[in-house]
């Protein structure tokens, strides 16, 4: 158990929960990042694009503000090539569009609404992620 950070992680999780609650309380919307990002580009009406774009801008700003005051060291990875990043990104894009959500929309908002679809999706992508890391490690010998 290297680098275990329960308190920071819990505090970050609570903030994410507060954000999801604000978006539902004020705007009546689910804070699902994959859906918001896709909708910022292909939502039919301008007003629908606008709030999503504002959320995305906020997301980038929030990350950058934190990083400015409390720099996080992210160790560079040699095992990940550009080709692998592109393939991974494509698969995530197709998967979240097909499964209507990701860690935030299903894992946080959906589970918090006790949605059976989201509970199934969350269990599935967690298990799929765990198996993938295991298989990937065997292949790369990491």
């Amino acid at each position: 158990m290297e680098n275990f950070t329960p308190y920071l992680s819990l505090a970050g999780g609570v903030l994410i929960g507060i954000s999801a609650s604000i978006l539902m309380y004020l705007n009546g919307r689910i804070a699902g990042i994959s859906g918001i990002v896709a909708g910022a580009f292909n939502a039919p009406a301008f007003a629908e694009k606008a709030w999503r774009l504002a959320f995305v801008v906020g997301l980038v700003l929030g990350g950058a503000i934190y990083m400015h005051f409390f720099p996080i060291t992210i160790a560079p990875r040699e095992s990940i090539s550009t080709g692998l990043l592109v393939s991974g990104g494509l698969v995530i894009g197709v998967g979240t569009a097909m499964g209507s959500g990701c860690t935030s929309g299903h894992g946080i908002c959906g589970v918090s609404r006790f949605s059976l679809r989201s509970i199934v999706a969350t269990a599935t992508f967690l298990l799929s992620g765990i198996i993938t890391v295991y298989v990937f490690k065997q292949i790369t010998g990491g």
Binding site: V37, L59, V133
Partner: protein, 137 residues
């Protein structure tokens, strides 16, 4: 206009939360999924903290007849557990496990000046738009 400001504020808080919880570090995410290796269970606390907070808040929010700045709560209407949901979740998990980024952290790290999140976000977006284009035909 109010809806845009509230979305911006929610986005900022979400981004700070992702950075504070270190979800923006793909190495940490992969260590969480690596249960047979040097397992780092931190992400359980991120998900747990977020779900607990949201579950409690949603109880109060949904007891209102409508949100503050909108006419109604827009909740997913799909209820069926179908093949798309399952295959989509499997695919997402595969991509997540290989690169260590899911959509939120990838977007929230765009301002870090790193190359990886930019590549991930662009290809993720391409994947989403590609799927929509196919399905819509």
């Amino acid at each position: 206009m109010l809806k845009i400001f509230s979305a911006l504020a929610a986005g900022v808080i979400f981004g700070v939360g992702l950075a504070l919880s270190q979800m923006v570090n793909p190495n940490k995410v992969i260590n969480f999924l690596d249960i047979t290796g040097e397992w780092d269970p931190s992400l359980i606390f991120v998900l747990g903290g977020a779900v607990l907070t949201t579950t409690i808040a949603y109880r109060f929010i949904f007891s209102r007849s409508k949100p503050v700045f909108a006419d109604d709560f827009q909740l997913p209407t799909l209820l069926q557990i179908d093949r798309q949901l399952f295959i989509g979740a499997v695919l997402f998990g595969v991509g997540w496990g290989v690169i260590g980024y899911c959509p939120g952290p990838a977007v929230a790290s765009l301002g870090f000046g790193l190359e990886e999140p930019l590549i991930v976000v662009i290809s993720m977006l391409a994947g989403m738009l590609f799927y929509r284009a196919i399905v819509r035909r």
